[in-house]
Symmetry: C2
Subunit: 487 residues, 2 copies
């Protein structure tokens, strides 16, 4: 009885969160700019109402009285209790303040980036950093502030795992990147192919069709910073179009991976933790797996090159497209357009900057300089502008600090899952034939359908038979790039 009442309450909270998700999607994709003041207030109210519902004494009472009758119900209680404990420590006013501040920050960041004017964003960023420091002190006073924030996005792996993984990548990958960039070999991107936006859109829609995206439960739109959001009934993707049609494609395949995870959550658990995805590391593993281990492979291009040529009027061979999709560029400052090797250098620098910022080791006005120094250290050059540097990413304007490391954790997990999948499915062969259902079904069975049933570490152990290790990614990268670049 108490358990059922708990679930009813949890579903209500979840519906408010999903409603807020629709409002945020709309804000990024559809809303006219003038709408911000009202939208900020709407989102702040939803945050606050949801926070109140979660932290009411009644929730604790129901949690204490709930007698879970099986493993599923135990998982639900575990996840709700975790959420309750964290939320209960944070005053409602702070939750509302953060929500209002982040809504208001978005247009400021957008304009500052357009104007390449870090100063314009600085006061807003300062406010967000202060609010998040305060939040960290409430939500988990027992750990350093950055760790408390990191746990918001990855609750079970621990910041030590992140440090271990990022440490390995720093040691093993940065030298590999050096070798690759120092080699005689280089591959040109497909930027030269002149493809307008409508054509690119047709091409990425073809890709989504081929991959099996469920249009009955999704849609594709354009957003300046592509993302995916929604529920198992309505998981939308966004993309953007620039000079290189491969950027639009990989970005779309990436978001398709996110949406496929969301769509694989069980319908009848909508609104409970069993119908919700297992946080950001696992989510990112799904997007990276489709982006890198499917979309950037030769077999994929043996299948897709023809469709790509048909849609765009280009005339590329599978080998040429494969090489372009894996060209390691020496001077690319943009994270979301990075190849899968230098990508981690972008993450390393962000991780170090935002950690120092939250821990008070540096202040906001030092950010561009520190950013640029670390950029030089990890990527070998300095970005020309702050728009291509410290203003580049949307995350901080969302008040999200501690989020970036989950990108590398996710990539690493993708490689680990890929290795396991290939033990069981002839993935290259299937990909070459344009058959993506076996992979999706495997992921659905081993990852998607479980929602939050298992803690992240348990889920990884059950799906791959091993704990999370960066070595799978390093092995994969050394083999692939060794062959491509003769290093």
């Amino acid at each position: 009885m108490s358990y059922d009442k708990l679930v009813e309450r949890v579903k209500k909270i979840s519906n408010i969160g999903n409603a807020a998700g629709v409002l945020r999607w709309d804000q990024e994709v559809m809303m006219p700019e003038g709408g911000t003041p009202a939208r900020s207030q709407q989102l702040a109210t939803l945050s606050s109402v949801s926070h109140e519902l979660l932290t009411e004494d009644e929730t604790e009472k129901l949690l204490d009285e709930a007698e879970p009758s099986d493993e599923s119900e135990e998982a639900v209680v575990r996840e709700v209790r975790r959420g309750y404990k964290r939320a209960d420590r944070v005053p409602n006013e702070l939750v509302e303040e953060i929500s209002t501040a982040t809504s208001e920050a978005h247009p400021v960041w957008t304009r500052a980036k357009e104007n390449d004017d870090f100063e314009e964003f600085a006061p807003t960023l300062e406010r967000l950093v202060e609010l998040r420091r305060e939040y960290a002190d409430y939500v988990n006073p027992d750990v350093p502030r950055y760790e408390a924030l990191f746990e918001e996005y990855e609750p079970y792996l621990g910041l030590d795992t992140a440090e271990r993984v990022l440490g390995t990548l720093r040691e093993e990958l940065v030298p590999l990147v050096d070798d690759v960039l120092g080699s005689e070999v280089s591959y040109e991107s497909l930027e030269g192919i002149d493809v307008d936006e409508d054509t690119q859109e047709r091409m990425v829609r073809d890709a989504l069709d081929a991959l099996g995206y469920d249009w009955e439960r999704g849609r594709l739109d354009v957003a300046p910073h592509p993302f995916s959001s929604g529920t198992q009934f309505d998981a939308r993707v966004t993309t953007r179009f620039g000079d290189d049609p491969l950027d639009a494609l990989t970005s779309t395949v990436h978001e398709f991976g996110h949406a496929t995870y969301t769509l694989g959550l069980p319908d009848d658990e909508y609104g409970t933790p069993l119908g919700e995805s297992r946080d950001l590391t696992v989510h990112e593993s799904q997007s990276r797996l489709w982006e890198n281990h499917v979309g950037r492979t030769l077999p994929f291009w043996e299948f897709f090159a023809e469709k790509f040529n048909e849609a765009t009027g280009a005339d590329v061979t599978p080998q040429r497209a494969y090489e372009a999709a894996n060209s390691v560029e020496e001077h690319n400052p943009i994270r979301v357009e990075a190849d899968e090797l230098t990508y981690h250098s972008h993450i390393l620098l962000r991780f170090e900057v935002e950690r120092a910022l939250i821990e008070g080791e540096i202040e906001v006005d030092e950010v561009p300089q520190v950013w640029n120094e670390k950029h030089e250290k990890y990527l070998g050059f300095r970005p020309d502008t702050d728009a291509e540097g410290a203003l580049q990413d949307i995350h901080w304007s969302h008040g999200s600090f501690g989020y970036f490391p989950t990108y590398s954790l996710g990539s690493v997990l993708a490689a680990q899952l890929d290795a396991k999948v290939r033990d069981e499915i002839a993935l290259d062969e299937k990909t070459r034939e344009g058959e993506f259902d076996p992979l999706r079904d495997w992921l659905r069975e081993n990852v998607h359908q479980h929602g939050k049933r298992y803690k992240t570490d348990e889920l990884i152990e059950r799906a791959t038979g091993d704990e999370l290790r960066a070595s799978y990614f390093v092995d994969y990268a050394e083999e692939k790039y060794g062959e491509l670049y003769g290093v």
Copy 2:
């Protein structure tokens, strides 16, 4: 102190309502069909949370303790108390049930209409009618059920006013329609001009530009059943494209009128009754005023014909467009495409059918037959299909009964406002010059800026110096159509 707390609470409730508005806009315009189950639950939760907040004892306490210090604060308390009283009488479960049922009804109605299959919609409609009868018994047990529902959309004019106005229209307008249709004169529509959807869209965007629609606070999309929604910061319009480009135009100008009202509400009162529109009669007066008293006039076409021709490649004279915009068709079964005369016949029949249905005088399975009989009585013919008959309108699928009469009340008020405006502004001259600011400013000053400060009857009296009378519309119609049709 209590007053401030009351306002804080009211703003929260209003933000939840506006968030639900975004979700509904998305559902009609953007959402993939598969999203319905989750969206229904999200909307039901928002309804229920908002209903709980409004009906908590705390609200009553704050209302009793609030000491309004001026006329504005008195108006806020009056409006909140009215909302509180109505909501407090309705059990929360019923509110949630209605919300879920109406969300689920929308795709059923859509399919039934597509399949021209009333049977497919009948069980859903039956459920909605039952729920609304139950709702009426709770919300105001002292009046007939239909009246209790009508008050939901028009709180202050009273159903007796609606009966009086509709009675006058039945007596004076139906004979005028007969005369017009019996006359020698007839005007052809612009259907013959072959204009594809992109061209129509360009043309209606030009019209919105010319009228002064604020794109910074709005957007235009396509919806099967055009509507407008939002707040003073973000008031969006929708339209649809068919064979006749004038349908798209008048529909767009109509929704522009709604949006202009919304955008004219004071920014700094967002979230309070003073920043919210005065219900449906007044809202519809704004859309009708722009649609009929601007968009269907000769001076408008003297201004817009050139732009229309440029956008569409047509070659119509102002006089020809004016005649087409006011052609009274003998066999048009579609309300939203009706001319401004027969429009009221469509309303009369709906008013009588839904009233009988809610009062239990007829049951759902009799609706198509009764609809068709009344259609013959008021419009002189029977619709060929239920898709063009009883399945035509979206309203019942929204659970909205008692809404239709406000369309006629709004038209009548539009004519009354128009008469007053012309005492003060040389409206034809301004329109001919494409200057729409004077009209918008007049409406802003006399209607928009007041929000819910005055009761509907007070607002009308203040703006026009008279109580609501159908005679303004009848005079207008007799003069205009007398001249056009020589009757």
